[in-house]
């Protein structure tokens, strides 16, 4: 064994100690990461089981009422036909809700499976927004809520304004925002849907004059399965997926969402959506570009 001078020995020891400390630090950091992930997984497990019981209510309850109501209709006496109208309206609103919830659930499943991709076309924004609002017609009328549209886009082709984006995703985003606005509105009030354009960005805001959301809660409403128990309408519907889906869809379209709200005064959700490019950088959209240039590395 070679003889080390005291100095060399000390230096060697110090080096090893430092190295040891570095490894220790790294280990601590990793274990902290790990603990964080474990904790989140546990929380999410708990949320998920809550979610499942929630969701089965969302699906079972509407079905039960639809079945009950249609049975009642079948046994209505001829001279009581007027009753049928109101029952059909109820069936419609239950079915509408069911359809909406299921759509959200399927999209969430798709996002979680990594099977979501933008499907870009030229979209007639005015007619898309109108379609979405019309779909809420019966519900909003029943609640006495007026949905006001402010379409502040001047230019375009005639009265129409075309914008390159994914129409189905945009529809679902708007539907979720409007559905929420209605859900947290008081009876006989209004919801304002506003649209405008800055450069290549389409902006849409949905404003309600309902309960509003406290600053603390504004942070958590985008988390999946989380709901605030402050719905005014006796049955607090929903599974808490709507806004997390909205956020994930906007992620795909490279847009974002902001919220402005004050407790007791209502909320405004604003979406910014950049126009989709035909060409993804480096690749042409549909093009046949698998022939690479010379000098590609092959792995």
């Amino acid at each position: 064994m070679s003889n080390l001078s005291d100095r060399q020995l000390l230096r060697e020891l110090r080096l090893r100690l430092e190295e040891r400390k570095k490894l220790d630090d790294e280990l601590t950091e990793l274990s902290r990461d790990f603990q964080g992930v474990t904790k989140k997984l546990k929380e999410s497990e708990a949320l998920k089981s809550h979610f499942i019981s929630n969701i089965s209510n969302e699906i079972v309850n509407p079905f039960t009422s639809i079945l009950g109501l249609s049975k009642a209709i079948l046994s209505v006496e001829k001279n009581d036909w007027k009753k049928v109208v109101s029952m059909v309206a109820l069936i419609h609103s239950e079915a509408f809700n069911l359809d909406f919830q299921l759509r959200n659930i399927f999209v969430a499943a798709k996002i979680e499976a990594g099977e979501i991709a933008p499907n870009i076309t030229k979209v007639n924004i005015r007619s898309l927004v109108q379609t979405v609002i019309d779909s809420f017609n019966i519900i909003s009328r029943k609640m006495g809520i007026d949905i006001e549209t402010q379409f502040n886009i001047e230019h375009g082709f005639g009265k129409n304004f075309y914008f390159k984006t994914d129409s189905e995703k945009l529809k679902l985003v708007l539907s979720n925002l409007i559905n929420n606005a209605l859900k947290y509105s008081y009876k006989d009030s209004k919801v304002i849907v506003k649209l405008w354009v800055d450069d290549d960005v389409l902006n849409a805001s949905v404003q309600d004059f309902g309960t509003g959301i406290s600053e603390k809660n504004q942070k958590i409403i985008f988390e999946r399965f989380k709901r605030l128990d402050s719905g005014i309408n006796s049955i607090n519907r929903g599974h808490g997926l709507g806004l997390s889906i909205t956020k994930a869809l906007l992620d795909v379209l490279e847009g974002n969402i902001e919220i402005q709200s004050q407790k007791g005064e209502g909320s405004t959700f604003t979406v910014n959506l950049p126009e989709a490019k035909n060409i993804i950088e480096g690749f042409s959209g549909e093009g046949n570009d698998i022939f690479f240039d010379e000098g590609d590395e092959i792995f």
Binding site: R224, E281, E297, I298
Partner: protein
């Protein structure tokens, strides 16, 4: 000659696996893409994640490394693969945002680290990789041969 391939462009936060011969294309900045290839069944899949670990709040989508890796693996096991036949090629994880902001978040590096840790834990060998650096990458993955063509991009991507 390459006409036998179907094409798929892989967007961030998604993943794609097929038993058919596909060429999967994607663009990576600080994101990481892992090509998993089954050498026995001669097919493969690719994911494309943006952040290392799921935050527990968003949807549990393959935007996050730990989820993207497990989902890709799960899909391949479902399609009949044995884990011992799988091999991985790892790409991306560049640091494209200026590190000059001082407290750099090193997303790219953390993305790569998740890939290495999780693949090692599952005993899937990394047979090739091109990671880190300051440029984006464009890759083509041929799912039947497992070949990956790789090119650096001059333009910035995220």
């Amino acid at each position: 000659m390459e006409n036998k391939y179907l094409q798929h462009f892989l967007y961030p936060s998604s993943l794609f696996v097929s038993r058919e011969p596909y060429v999967i294309k994607t663009i990576l900045g600080s994101c990481v893409g892992i090509c998993l290839w089954d050498k026995r069944l001669k097919y493969g899949g690719l994911n494309h994640y943006m952040l290392p670990n799921w935050n527990g709040n968003d949807l549990a989508s393959p935007k996050y490394g730990n989820i993207a890796i497990d989902k890709l693996l799960e899909r391949m096991l479902y399609l009949g693969s044995n884990i011992k036949d799988l091999q991985a090629k790892v790409f991306g994880g560049g640091e494209l945002l200026e590190a000059s902001t001082g407290n750099s978040t090193l997303i790219g590096e953390r993305n790569i680290r998740v890939a290495r840790l999780m693949l090692e834990e599952r005993k899937i060998p990394i047979v090739a990789s091109s990671t880190g650096g300051k440029r984006g990458r464009k890759i083509l993955f041929f799912t039947d041969t497992g070949e990956v063509r790789h090119k650096f991009l001059e333009k910035r991507v995220y």
